[in-house]
Subunit: 290 residues, 2 copies
């Protein structure tokens, strides 16, 4: 009944002897509660988030639906273990392309332990977190039946420079997404995925408006997950663009202050996506007039 998810690109992944998330046939995602404070902090977040009625529905839909916790057999065979149960936002898709982007130029929260802060700070400085306000944690890009997916190793992705990030965001919406950053992207899906009233950019702008005002939560080390499918995008069909926030093990109370760390990174990501849309090949004549 439970199986290891096909389409996970970041975070702890289940494999032989290693505990990780599971999914079932009904579209639910089971995340084992991490034994330290992180598991309970994520339960606390979901519980509080569910109880706050002031969060409008158009924002609520950026968060996976939460179904509580449940004791199930852990993926590593170590026996029953409590799991967070939530909406599986990916596995219902056939051939999803997806990207996990960890937000903020700082992944550590002020009250964390000194060891944790120094570990995070080191990683933030070694990745694009510091210069860009976000880093790509992982992705998979579906090519076609023959080429399948490009799903690079985590280590490769974490080594991305600013330019690599720019290219990866272009390849993410291209049809010729061969297994490297070299081939020139063709932007075949840029308008249908990033553009339009339900595209990634429009959704990120809605999130931005909320983050300019919300002072309830600070989302440290949280990710934006972008998902779409190439096949249904042909001939006027929607590619089913989904933008979700995931990973709330390091969410703390906002105490009346906006989450300027997440918001800054979000504005930076928005600028990267806008730049791609503003500079699409067929727009070049128009752009040169600006």
């Amino acid at each position: 009944m439970f199986k290891i998810p096909d389409h996970q690109v970041a975070g702890h992944q289940a494999s032989t002897g290693i505990i990780g998330p599971l999914i079932d046939d009904s579209g639910r995602f089971y995340k084992p509660l991490q034994s330290d404070h992180r598991g309970s902090q994520e339960v606390e977040f979901y519980t509080k988030f569910s109880s706050i009625t002031e969060i409008p529905n158009h924002i609520r839909k950026f968060f996976p639906i939460y179904y509580g916790t449940k004791q199930i057999e852990a993926s590593d065979g170590s026996g029953p273990c409590p799991h967070l149960v939530m909406e599986d936002v990916v596995s219902i898709r056939t051939n999803p392309s997806l990207m996990d982007i960890k937000m903020g130029s700082r992944t550590w929260f002020p009250t964390a332990s000194e060891d944790y802060i120094m570990k995070c700070l080191k990683k933030d400085r070694e990745t694009t977190t510091l210069p860009l306000g976000f880093r790509i944690s992982g992705f998979q890009i579906y090519g076609d039946k023959d080429s399948g997916y490009w799903k690079p190793e985590r280590k490769y992705v974490l080594g991305f420079s600013t330019d690599d990030v720019r290219v990866a965001l272009k390849k993410f919406v291209s049809s010729n997404s061969s297994n490297d950053l070299v081939a020139e992207p063709d932007f075949a899906f840029a308008e249908s995925v990033y553009g339009g009233p339900n595209g990634v950019l429009a959704q990120l702008l809605k999130l931005k408006t909320w983050f300019e005002n919300q002072t309830i939560f600070h989302f440290y080390s949280c990710s934006v997950l972008m998902v779409y499918e190439k096949e249904p995008a042909l001939k006027g069909h929607s590619p089913g663009v989904t933008v979700k926030l995931i990973d709330f093990a390091h969410v703390i109370e906002g105490e009346g202050v906006i989450d300027h760390n997440f918001l800054g990174g979000l504005c930076s990501l928005i600028k990267f996506i806008s730049d791609i849309l503003d500079n699409l090949p067929h727009n070049s004549a128009q752009n040169s007039e600006n």
Copy 2:
């Protein structure tokens, strides 16, 4: 001809044997070039900024006018020394109230030395820089002829908590600004200084729009300076609200990425100011309906 400015609230201040800025009678401000890289970096910034014609005038007016560099006698009597010459945005006022707010949740830039980074990080964590995305570096609030100015010591201001910052921003636009944070602010100047089409909030929102798009500069350790005068505010006269960016010794090239660090802090400051305007005593009936 040259004298020590009356209304400086932050930064290096001239006193016996200590070098600091000077002003003249014609409204110019002379800042001694710091002997390390900082002085030359600020000259470089002003030179580059002056040469970029794409910066619109409504943004250019947030920066002091730059008149180049000039060799004059240093304030400490150590002889001639090169000074940055710029518009004096304060001393033309009679009794200005002013506040210097250092922007960003990180005051260090990625390529700085390890010593410098650790020194800044420590200060960022000890002040409101980390939680708020900005810290008040200094202020003076004019009361009236009898009470004069409240101009607290730098050390006191740097010790501010989040709540202290909130109160200081309220006292800044109150008539009863006695020399502490205790007395209840009366918000007498809140609408005329923070509100309206030329008030602080409107000006900060213009800056925000620019920062969402500009990728030329990253303004580390730069300040927003707010200035106004109480007396002309009576009976429909404008309090002459000025908002300027100052201190560009740590500006680096943006390299195509927005300054998410400054922008995040700016959005946080905007939220603080908006909250004050939204919760003015006479607005309370209206607010309770929201």
